[in-house]
Symmetry: C2
Subunit: 463 residues, 2 copies
């Protein structure tokens, strides 16, 4: 460890409580991006971060209004590192999910509270706390390096991650030159288990769709018309039941053609992870049985296999009691998770053609794409991953595990596929941190270990 | 025609405009039984009718509060007819459906308006207008018979027909002696076509159910858990797709065992009705094709065959856009129409056992009965039917057709099965009267022809 890295870590340790207090101030701002009445709070959170980035020494700090007219991006850079130092693009988001149901929170979601070594608040770990690790690591380095940094850094913090991230996608597409970098650092994932440093090297993609089925031209009474008029829900049930068999295998022709199996090495590593399927069923899922493809482990099913889910079926009568309507129209919200080397375009085309081919008689079926994200895997064979593993080994005293995520972080697809950037998903959340749920928390030891890991990573990322 | 019958008809003709104006006053009362804020209006409608029954000469007029604590029944009788005259139980209802969507009404739903020989208002034909025919026929007879009637009459008007009719069912069950009669007259059905007097001689029954499917113990994120966690909507789709095949045949074992075919004579009569399936598809249903059992005509499918419909599937995410939830729970609202000689008890037991037997793994399935009504057919071979046919021949100048209805009128099942009453369903609505829809109307010529038909029927019901 260089003397300056040591000084940065010492600074971070001496300022732990201040860092937490600042984070609390940010967490008090209810920057719920999906609720129009909080638009002012969202902007206030953006300004809070921009102001701190300016204070610690970042340059070109500004809010960027996007063409999609959503919440602003926060951008900053510092590009004066000596020699051939690489450029690191630090990404995070400052918007949060709604806090409902409020009555399940032990302490109010926007009044951060420390209990048992955890900081409880909406956004504590997703992603304000993890984004703040980046800012505080940079502050520590600026101090140790006397106003300089050991690498070039760009910071991009968005305010629409929880609502689709259209603005940042537009910015990546339209202004790639402003994001020119050698590696992207994303801290929006979790550790596989407590004390187990984790790098996420793959994410499933997604196509989120709607199948709309129209039968009669108006709602009809099932007494008068039942037996002759098509029922859109029955038609949807017939379609959905043909999309996936009872072992969870998707029946869309060609859907698995491009599905790449993880390497033997990766599968072996997954087998070595501390994971028990029965414990997972009991503590995380709670259903009588797990479902899905029986020939694959749960980690393979959720990380490396495509899947199909139905999220809701709007239409008809959903109140209490009985209404005997044959609705003119019903919709199924259906999404598929995709894995490398599937592509969203091809998967959607296969799905749409299949659904249309199995449409029952008497109804008109329309298939719509709502949004999509490409699946990605990142190479583990580059110097940045090695630097991160080494940094976390110093902090945690143990080897990093490589995992994948079953969900999608669309921006990572944009970085990897759009900008061609190696992307390092180094996150410090825990599986029980209650993301998107009541009593979201961040384990404070991980907040501080995250800052130290990032300090070390940035210090050594230049080789 | 007796002299007194002639006098009653003359009275009715001379008072047509007054009868319509009185009906308008009743229609101005928004007696929407399902909306608690209209409870006062519902009671006001009951009092309006009770007051008129008293004025015309009915006795024992009173509102009956039922044990089910809903809207009151209106009861009245006059039981002093000479000799062995039979007792006729006149049934109707004074509650109405909600009027939404309001902006589709040409004139406001509770401001009755005459246009093109029709009276437009919510409840015009269903059932205030048809119930008012009974009252005005009785008034005409009281006048002609100088304070007497040619038959004994009981009147029962309920205020909960549109919300399940629990109160009247309780009254029929608990106080059959107050409803002792020889025949029930129900005017809550329609004519098969304009100018075609119609008696409805059968109604399908119904079991209205919910299938609840529970998978995980809490809502899960489809990214993290998709592929391993059961999806309740997919499970429901699998269940529903097995309940009915693509030709509309219900797959529940034993479900058709008791289904009685209409007689050859009845089927022949149906074939002679003025009905064109393609015209029906185009003008009433509007779907690209009709569906259902191909070996049966549309009239058989909707009148004499059981069927199964899904009305809505509450649960999960039904907003605009995308939410990637695997809901812990989803529900399907499923009803089956039953035909003689099916029974609701047996059909529900068969259905429940079958649904439970096809429950996919990983989920817990619960089947609930919401409400039910027995299927009925009434005999056409009795003197009351003959008297009604003869009465309508005098008024319309043409023979009556006998049809069935695809829907359920639970009270008819109670009369037929509970009280053992022959029931005469003689209604004067038209197929395009927009029951339960905007711009409900009653063709005024039919209102007056209905009154005359009922006057003649009551005059001759004694033989």
């Amino acid at each position: 460890m260089s003397e300056k890295t040591g000084a940065a870590i010492e600074f971070a340790r001496n300022n732990q409580q201040r860092f937490v207090e600042e984070l609390k101030a940010l967490l008090r701002i209810p920057s719920i991006s999906t609720l129009p009445e909080h638009a002012g709070d969202v902007r206030r959170a953006a300004e809070f971060i921009a102001s701190e980035l300016r204070r610690i020494g970042m340059e070109n700090v500004r809010l960027i209004e996007t063409a999609t007219k959503g919440h602003p991006l926060v951008y900053a850079d510092w590009l004066h590192a000596a020699g051939a130092a690489p450029t690191v693009l630090c990404y995070g988001h400052y918007d949060v999910q709604p806090a409902e149901p409020l009555d399940e929170w032990i302490s109010p979601p926007f009044e951060p509270a420390e209990r048992n070594g955890n900081l409880y608040a909406r956004g504590a770990v997703d992603d304000k706390g993890q984004m703040w690790m980046h800012v505080k690591a940079l502050e520590s380095l600026f101090t140790a390096y006397e106003g300089k940094l050991p690498v070039n850094v760009r910071v991009l913090v968005e305010g629409e991650e929880e609502v689709g991230g259209e603005g940042v996608a537009w910015f990546v597409r339209e202004h790639p030159e402003e994001l020119r970098a050698d590696v992207a650092l994303v801290s929006d994932t979790e550790m596989f288990a407590p004390d187990l440093p984790t790098i996420c090297v793959g994410l499933r993609g997604m196509i989120y769709t709607e199948i709309e089925v129209r039968g009669a031209s108006i709602d009809l009474h099932s007494g008068m018309y039942g037996g002759a008029a098509p029922n859109p829900f029955v038609a949807l049930a017939q379609i959905i039941s043909k999309l996936k068999d009872e072992n969870g295998r998707i029946q869309i022709p060609g859907f698995y053609d491009r599905v790449a199996s993880p390497s033997a090495e990766e599968l072996k590593a997954w087998k070595a992870l501390p994971f028990n399927e029965e414990h997972y069923r009991q503590t995380e899922v709670g259903s009588p049985e797990l479902t899905g493809e029986p020939d694959y482990s749960v980690l393979e099913r959720t990380w490396a296999r495509p899947t199909l889910d139905v999220h809701g079926m709007p239409g008809g009568f959903i109140g209490a009691g009985a209404k005997t309507v044959i609705p003119a129209k019903a919709v199924a919200k259906v999404s598929m998770r995709l894995v490398p080397d599937q592509t969203t375009d091809e998967a959607f085309a296969q799905y749409k053609a299949f659904v249309e081919s199995i449409a029952p008689r008497g109804v008109v079926v329309t298939v719509r794409l709502i949004h999509s994200a490409e699946p990605i895997v990142v190479s583990t064979d580059n110097s940045f991953i090695k630097a991160a593993v080494s940094a976390m080994h110093e902090v945690f005293g143990t080897d990093t595990v490589f995992v994948r995520g079953g969900g999608s972080i669309p921006i990572v697809g944009d970085f990897v596929r759009g900008l061609g950037l190696p992307t390092l998903m180094m996150g410090f959340g825990l599986p029980d941190d209650n993301l998107h749920a009541p009593n979201e928390k961040f384990h404070l030891a991980n907040f501080h270990r995250g800052i130290e890991s990032i300090v070390r990573f940035l210090s050594t990322a230049g080789g």
